[in-house]
């Protein structure tokens, strides 16, 4: 007995020391103490820095507090950490009330069962399902189930081109894949390349694997939700994309090291490349490199002649509520506020996002032509990424396989269609094993 008492006393003493030794640590992470007056909100990094996000969101959250009396504790989380943080939150149940997710994760996160499904009552509470653009709303979760997320910001890929370079070469913006490659070849000279890609980023690579395959009419998952990575349409689509670096040589091999989109955008903005594929929130990054708004134009990422006109996946950010929130009503009020027209108008502008609400005109750029182009791409030339639970595994396995293939091409090797098929087979096996 004595030992146990002593051990317990020692433990308590030791814990007390550590607890008092550092009580300065503020804990704003998971504390969802009742009362309904405070919400914890995890925002994803949309602006130029975490700090920038904080500055943009704080006045809005203040407005929300003024209107409802509900205080929102904000934490902006970088993309590198977001997935791990969500995982630990899901695992432990120690979670924020409301959070942002990449909309491509929606179906995967839905399958964890940790998020609140938006049933019709919940939709009524946030202003009705009908207020959202259908394209955006489709990304909310697996079809046929109550979605676990609602759209917050819309994004789409576009092909940015340098107007001066095109004009000097006597070229007009491409409307087909073949034209794009021909233009890029003409524009590749010396240290300038026709195109730049984030060829070392597995997320970007998986997106373009999807888009190129979709242009060929191929699907990564069958109707039964099983992976079908090795179809010809997919292999050819990926080969076409790889060939920009391998056969057409319009992409600098160095791009194989670009593990995020901004590095490619910087190359474009600094005149090292004539075209870049990017989501529509690139404008602030381009401007920060000193490229003027009127120096570049945007067209839809073209499909090959005869292919399906798909230029982007439905990209963007959705909002979810954790099921175990103790402040469900407050959380719904907050989602309603964030997806209201007034808040959206201001946030779309700051974060260069496309509207996810019906009947709202894009405000992310003052350039009407650009806004129209993206609006058209988003509504008419988009396709959602596979809405299946294994979507995140598709992104990581296929994206990483593409990273390796680009790396091989960049370091002088060749990647044949057989190689692509072999890599996709491995990726598919990994997805199957995890399922």
């Amino acid at each position: 007995m004595k030992i146990r008492t002593f051990a317990a006393a020692a433990a308590i003493a030791a814990l007390a020391i550590t607890a008092t030794g550092c009580s300065g640590g503020t804990s704003n992470s998971g504390a969802t103490n009742g009362g309904g007056k405070t919400l914890t909100y995890w925002a994803s990094n949309q602006g130029t820095s975490l700090d920038n996000d904080k500055q943009v969101l704080t006045p809005e959250l203040q407005k929300f507090q003024d209107q409802t009396g509900i205080k929102v504790n904000l934490e902006v989380i970088g993309w590198n950490d977001l997935q791990t943080r969500i995982q630990t939150a899901v695992t432990s149940g120690q979670s924020p009330d409301v959070l942002n997710i990449g909309n491509t994760w929606a179906a995967s996160l839905q399958s964890t069962g940790a998020f609140m499904p938006f049933d019709s009552a919940a939709f009524d509470a946030i202003g009705g399902k009908a207020k959202f653009v259908k394209t955006a709303m489709d990304t909310g979760g697996v079809p046929g189930q109550d979605p676990t997320s609602v759209p917050l910001y819309g994004l789409a890929y576009g092909l940015y081109y340098n107007k001066a370079m095109f004009k000097d070469a006597g070229l007009t913006p491409p409307t087909t894949w073949e034209e794009m490659v021909a233009d890029a070849k003409k524009l590749t000279a010396g240290s300038v390349h026709g195109m730049t890609l984030a060829a070392g980023s597995y997320t970007e690579n998986s997106h373009f694997a999807f888009i190129n395959a979709a242009q060929n009419g191929a699907e990564f998952f069958g109707p039964d939700g099983k992976p079908t990575f090795t179809s010809d349409g997919i292999v050819n689509g990926i080969a076409r994309y790889l060939d920009l670096m391998q056969a057409d040589k319009v992409v600098n091999p160095s791009n194989a090291q670009y593990d995020n989109g901004t590095q490619a955008i910087n190359d474009f903005a600094n005149g090292k490349a004539a075209m870049v594929l990017s989501q529509n929130n690139a404008n602030s990054s381009i401007a920060s490199q000193g490229m003027k708004d009127d120096a570049y134009g945007v067209v839809a990422f073209p499909a090959p002649a005869g292919g399906q006109q798909i230029a982007t996946m439905v990209a963007g950010i959705n909002m979810s509520i954790f099921k175990n929130t103790k402040n469900k009503d407050a959380a719904l009020q907050f989602v309603k506020f964030m997806t209201s027209e007034a808040t959206q108008a201001s946030l779309d502008k700051s974060f260069a996002a496309l509207p996810v609400l019906q009947g709202v005109t894009p405000s992310f750029t003052t350039n009407a032509e650009q806004a129209k182009t993206f609006e058209d791409i988003y509504s008419n030339k988009s396709k959602p990424l596979p809405l299946v639970a294994a979507e995140d595994q598709f992104e990581s396995t296929v994206g990483k396989a593409m990273n390796q293939m680009f790396a091989k091409v960049a370091s002088g090797g060749t990647v044949s269609k057989a190689d692509i098929k072999a890599a996709l087979t491995t990726a598919q096996q990994a997805v199957e094993a995890a399922g």
Binding site: K2, F6, A389, S396, Q404, S411
Partner: protein, 324 residues
């Protein structure tokens, strides 16, 4: 697990205080246990219980469908292990490849670090002008926070704006294209070099400390006998450093084999297959695919491997010591 036995056993010894406790006779038998208690509690909470939980996880189908409610995760028995060890499947062959890469990585890093550490320790054994300076200099990579050093290397290994390619192709004027260091096959050499840079000062430090405990007159005696430096090294230094080496090699082996930080900081999110060290591989297997049961099974396999290797190593070493 054994730490729990410690506390439990203490109850038994309470009934029969043992004769050999004479050193603690003034204090009473419980004092050593009381002294150990805080350490035991922290070890339990941070190391032992999580490890047991991890082992338990490895028998569950703990994918994202079940992660939010562990109680419902189905027990799959050895299935996670079967998948991890089926080297014909994508998962198993990936793990095997990663294991082999890590083994090669460990042999190179530990071997070369030891060699460099030994060379430096011997070179700085005799006092000369500037010895203190070089000793200090050599310790800096060890003193630097690990991520600061690795980030500097990451910058140096960039293809277009890195110092390494600049040195070889601009300063030395080598012909040909600048290679990538952080993607493709060169990534292996990159991570090896960075790990050596981090590790060898530790070997140097330990060996230097060991050399200091060798009395000078041993060398003087052998010098009188006409022994050459190389002979002195193999006849005196090496045997005298045996206890140091025994510990040093084991510790370096464990640290290197488990190294997560170096590839994590060096490669970031996009790890090339050539630099796919096993800790990093398991981390990705768990967190990227949300398959924590499978990740736990791989970790347990890794732990078993390390236990077996360390056990055999210690056994051989102790036997040799007994014979000597």
């Amino acid at each position: 697990m054994s730490a729990t036995t410690t506390t439990r056993k203490s109850g038994a010894s309470a009934k029969a205080p043992r004769g050999e406790n004479r050193k603690g006779r003034r204090a009473g038998w419980w004092l050593p246990y009381a002294l150990l208690a805080p350490a035991v509690i922290f070890e339990l909470v941070i190391h032992v219980i999580p490890m047991v939980t991890g082992i338990w996880m490895s028998f569950l189908k703990l994918t994202k469908m079940f992660i939010s409610n562990w109680g419902n995760a189905p027990v799959t028995g050895l299935k996670n292990y079967q998948i991890a060890l089926d080297f014909n499947s994508a998962v198993g062959s990936g793990l095997l490849k990663s294991f082999l890469i890590t083994a090669a990585f460990t042999i190179l890093v530990v071997g070369i670090s030891w060699g460099l550490g030994m060379a430096a320790a011997v070179a700085l054994q005799k006092s000369f002008f500037g010895r203190g300076f070089f000793r200090t200099l050599f310790l800096i990579p060890y003193a630097l926070p690990m991520y600061a050093g690795v980030i500097a290397w990451k910058f140096m290994l960039q293809k277009d704006n890195g110092a390494i390619n600049h040195f070889f192709f601009d300063n030395l004027g080598l012909p040909g294209d600048r290679p990538f260091w952080l993607i493709g096959n060169n990534a292996f050499w990159a991570v090896v070099i960075v790990a050596i840079w981090r590790m060898w000062p530790f070997a140097f430090l330990m060996l230097m400390a060991g050399l200091q405990s060798i009395p000078n007159d041993v060398y003087e005696a052998s010098a009188v006998d006409g022994a050459k430096p190389l002979r002195q090294w193999s006849a005196i230094t090496l045997p005298m450093l045996r206890p140091v080496n025994m510990v040093l090699l084991l510790v370096m082996f464990l640290w290197t084999f488990n190294d997560f930080n170096t590839p994590f900081v060096l490669f970031g999110g996009s790890n090339p297959p050539a630099g796919d060290l096993i800790s990093f591989h398991i981390y990705n297997a768990s967190f990227l695919t949300w398959n924590f049961g499978s990740g736990a099974a791989m970790s347990v396999l890794l732990l078993l491997f390390l236990l077996v290797v360390s056990g055999i190593y210690l056994l051989i070493m102790n036997r040799r010591k007994d014979r000597a």
